[in-house]
Symmetry: C2
Subunit: 613 residues, 2 copies
């Protein structure tokens, strides 16, 4: 069966008016009304209900009601008075379910029988209004901190208007076991709140209030959790409740789309693992096998400069577009397009990654999947000869073209220049593309590539870069022929620091970096100078063969190693302000990107930039 999709207003930034509009635009069926959002709104509850009805949204939950129970009879009486006021609001809202979370107050009831009595008394009030209460264990509740303890209270109260609210964060952050949901009496799960999170070693309240993520963005097993809840017979909405400092201040329209995509991802995962649960599912993402091209947007100033550098890197200007100022440069299986027809920002001389051509076993299927997952489809602005290129926009605006390269496909748009090159410098392929992300959309990007393109996310790491921490996460296909390195500056970076936005990069693979490096040096490629201290430190840290170390020092080659293998790499200077090239050799099973060397590279890029007028 399919479930309604819902989102708590606290997930989104802005006023209640902004939030409701964003949720509706992203296709949600309902919302949870977070009380502070209503309190700050000029809409009366009835006006909010009418607005939601107009937008096709149901109001699935009113939340939260805090600190209901009390060991102090007077205070409990006051709490019931407060409850009555909120039940009045709910009646006007036309919503049936109130979230009551376990008390964190000093006067919270520890006695199980007394707690059940107080919950039943509250349920009586709700029932009198025709409403019901979903009781939730906060992970940091004073006496009720586990779902088992909340179920104990609900079971003892044994009131038809009292059930459970299960929240994946509160259960999984305490390593709770969803297998036990099978013991919950049928129909007693009144509501389900879904949130993912990264594994963090910190106070669980702070973790919950600042660092939750949408499903698929964190480290929790949300598919397993949801499957257990559905096994227990839950038929209500799948509702997101994510407190996150970044989403709190980001464009709510975007966040809502990200949120919806996370629910679709979750449904897809559960549908794939547990088809018996009958969740709607879409076909798996068509397999991506590699890069067909990487396209750089250039202009009349940056284009010739980048072309000159590509030539020195051993690339050949093999083709010229039939009708547009687009050059095709190739070496081995690596192909770059220099496109001077893209509308550029006001600055001149900029070069940046504008598009990726991704080789798909089913380009149309890839594009349809992206569309069904709310990726913006790009207008077909290309000429007829390119009619078969379907493209969508990634969260950072990079265009993604799904290709199936055949001779009369997109390469036919390019007239051969006749240039054959001199055999190149040993570059054989595109290894990875480094895309710098706006920090606001870093987690959105991870989920986008995961769900839309079927790329798997690696661990999140943080680089202590010279101009502030940089968050880093790669997404890859299983064969590692499509690798994207996503990075974002953790804070805004002061105006004084270089490269805002930080440059992107394209990394090319070679099987012999020494030979390639010598060829590049001989050709006068603008390679980045590596400080001598760096190789002195390599010498201290690793047992490197002295000749090999000496060669790396001579050629400006960086080095990293893990238990799996080694990584040798070098960089060009930044070109056109926004892009540089890397050449890499992977030895054995090295699967990373030399992140340990990134701070040295960044400092060197900064120096090169300062040295250039």
């Amino acid at each position: 069966m399919s479930h309604e999709r819902s989102i708590a207003t606290v997930c989104l930034s802005g006023t209640l008016e902004d939030k409701v509009a964003a949720a509706a635009a992203a296709g949600f069926d309902g919302i949870e009304v977070f009380e502070p959002d209503l309190v700050a709104s000029p809409w009366t509850p009835a006006e909010l209900a009418a607005r939601c009805a107009d937008l096709g949204l149901t109001i699935d939950l009113y939340q939260p009601f805090r600190d209901l129970d009390s060991t102090d009879p007077d205070r409990f009486a006051r709490n019931l008075r407060r409850l009555d006021r909120k039940l009045d609001v709910m009646a006007q809202l036309g919503t049936s379910t109130l979230l009551v979370c376990s008390s964190v107050a000093a006067d919270a009831v520890d006695d199980r029988g007394r707690l059940a009595e107080q919950l039943a008394a509250a349920a009586d009030r709700a029932a009198a209004h025709g409403l019901r209460i979903a009781y939730e264990a906060l992970a940091w509740g004073r006496h009720v901190g586990t779902w088992e303890r909340s179920w104990d209270a609900v079971r003892r109260a044994d009131h038809p208007a009292l059930g459970l609210c299960l929240d994946s964060f509160h259960v999984l952050s305490r390593a709770g076991d969803p297998a036990g949901f099978a013991d919950i009496a049928p129909g007693k799960i009144f509501f389900l709140q879904l949130a993912d999170a990264p594994h963090l070693q910190m106070d669980v309240l702070q973790w919950s209030r600042h660092h939750r993520l949408f499903p698929g963005q964190g480290a929790f097993d949300l598919p397993g959790f949801l499957a257990r809840v559905l096994d227990a017979g839950y038929t209500g909405p799948l509702s997101l409740e994510v407190f996150n400092d970044v989403f709190r201040q980001a464009d709510p329209a975007r966040t809502a789309v990200d949120a919806m995509r996370s629910l679709l991802w979750l449904e897809d995962q559960v549908a794939g693992e547990r088809p018996d649960l009958g969740l709607p599912a879409r076909p798996a993402a068509p397999r991506l096998s590699g890069y067909s091209f990487v396209e750089l947007a250039v202009d009349g100033v940056s284009g010739p400069r980048v072309g000159d550098v590509l030539a020195r890197l051993g690339f050949t200007h093999a083709g010229q577009h039939r009708s547009k100022p687009v050059q095709l440069w190739v070496q081995g299986d690596a192909a770059l397009l220099l496109n001077a027809s893209v509308v550029r920002p006001a600055e001149t001389g900029v070069a940046e990654v504008a598009a990726l051509g991704l080789e798909s076993e089913d380009p149309t299927g890839s594009a349809l999947r992206a569309t069904s997952l709310l990726a913006p489809v790009l207008p077909r602005t290309r000429g007829v000869a390119e009619a078969d290129l379907s493209a969508v926009a990634a969260p950072d605006g990079t265009q993604l073209f799904f290709t199936r390269t055949v001779p009369d496909g997109w390469p036919a748009d390019f007239l051969p220049t006749g240039a054959t090159g001199d055999g190149g410098a040993g570059i054989t392929r595109t290894d990875h593309v480094g895309l710098t992300q706006p920090f606001d959309s870093f987690d959105e990007a991870t989920l986008f590539y995961r769900e839309v393109l079927g790329l798997g996310p690696e661990e999140v790491t943080e680089i202590p870069a010279p101009f502030g921490l940089v968050r880093d996460r790669a997404v890859t296909n299983p064969e590692r022929s499509v690798r994207l390195s996503l990075t974002a500056a953790l804070l805004r970076r002061g105006e004084w620091s270089p490269g805002v936005p930080a440059p992107q990069h394209v990394a090319f693979g070679t099987e012999d970096i020494v030979t390639t490096a010598r060829a590049l040096r001989a050709a006068g490629a603008p390679l980045l100078e590596v400080p001598a201290n760096y190789h002195d430190d390599l010498d201290a840290r690793f047992d490197l063969d002295p000749v090999r170390l000496s060669t790396m020092r001579e050629l400006g080659v960086f080095y990293d190693e893990t238990a799996d293998g080694a990584y040798l790499h070098l960089y060009t200077e930044v070109l056109g302000g926004r892009v540089f090239f890397e050449v890499v050799q992977r030895i054995s099973g090295y699967d990373g990107y030399g992140a340990a060397n990134a701070p040295v590279r960044m400092a060197a890029h900064r120096r090169a930039r300062l040295a250039t007028p």
Copy 2:
């Protein structure tokens, strides 16, 4: 005795070249060289040494050397080889002391005797170079996590080239007791690293690497810590080692000044509490008794608008500056200057807080103190009649004038308009000023007001505002006649959100907000509309007298209460894009600022802004 003042390069953003320049410019005597900074630098160690000598900086420490000891003899041999390489670097640097921190590796030595042997072996290598090792317990060290354990190892090793490094973070984050420093053998504290931090419930490694602060900015008892270290006979540098995500990406020249100010604060505290230790000290900050004026920068568009609003708030345009377009508006003891002569940014129609007049018992002393604490002194751009106004710039650029108001002082610059007003609306004083801070300088601002002006910082709180979390910290004088509410958006806030930068505000006090509010409404003041839901929620939360609640609802008055008292307040709309007014009544000992109501106020301001073309 006085101690050298030093700073670890890791405290500062940028390349090593940037960091050294910033440390020297702020007046530090020396630096700790953080190894990754050197590794990324094109300067050879000898070149760095020469550069530091040119700038008058000593190199006091090379750090860190990690994971020295090992249960695996081969690995320990490799670690000694690595040590030799680093000792070579130190010899070129001309620095005598290497920081070795306790191992976090799986092969770390647990056996106390064996650990002491390995440390002694390392000390032998250092001694052979004429160098020495300062051994530090990382709070998360595998076996050595307390200073007592590190002292045990050093004591057992009993090597003249081996001593302790004490780091206030590692000791105080684990609630270590500095009283025990008295047991450390004389001369065995080789180095002292100072860092403050907020109290956080999180993994201590993450706490240390991301959230350290300069002394005076956090919650640790740094003065007590330092006194104990000095009691133990330490004569070396007072050196700051602060890992902080914000400082990592902020202008290093500013951060270095902030850092120096923190050491001066620390010295002042210790000198005050323990004069016997002979630290240099400056006289205490002259007492501030209140606001003499608040000055708003306006222009030809915003000035008349703000003046009109002030008139409706019951202010009288009492004076006009003799030579400049500056108006003096007064009511009770509250005085506002509307200054149209300040050079404004390109936008027109802006009004913002430009300056505060702070009544000082010794204006010249206040200004001299500020100067000695590296506050930028502002050029005297005023006319001769204002010759006695000394001013400095706060970290957010607000001008602070130190005044001692007498009739022939600054008020004499203003010619009376003859207007006497109609008795006003009951406003009696300026209660507080709300200044929004750039997030990068939020902690700097706290320390600035604390050390330069002698204002005491309150707790840091976070407001879940509609457009992202807002950090909030007040600084006040003991009599509460000078209150500044400092706020900063935690993240950058999306472009879509309103009010970047967020508006500042000036809050005026009344003894009877109902009478004042009625007067303001009668005069047509542009008061902020408060949603009905807000007062409904007040009714649910508090046992308010129905008539009183009804009056608050009618007049748009917000309410907060604590155990100490109550706070009734109302707001105007935002004027000139950057400033609004608040009117407050404090009942009994209420000492806050109604932060719980801020989200409702912000949402209402946003709506009013959207409603205004």
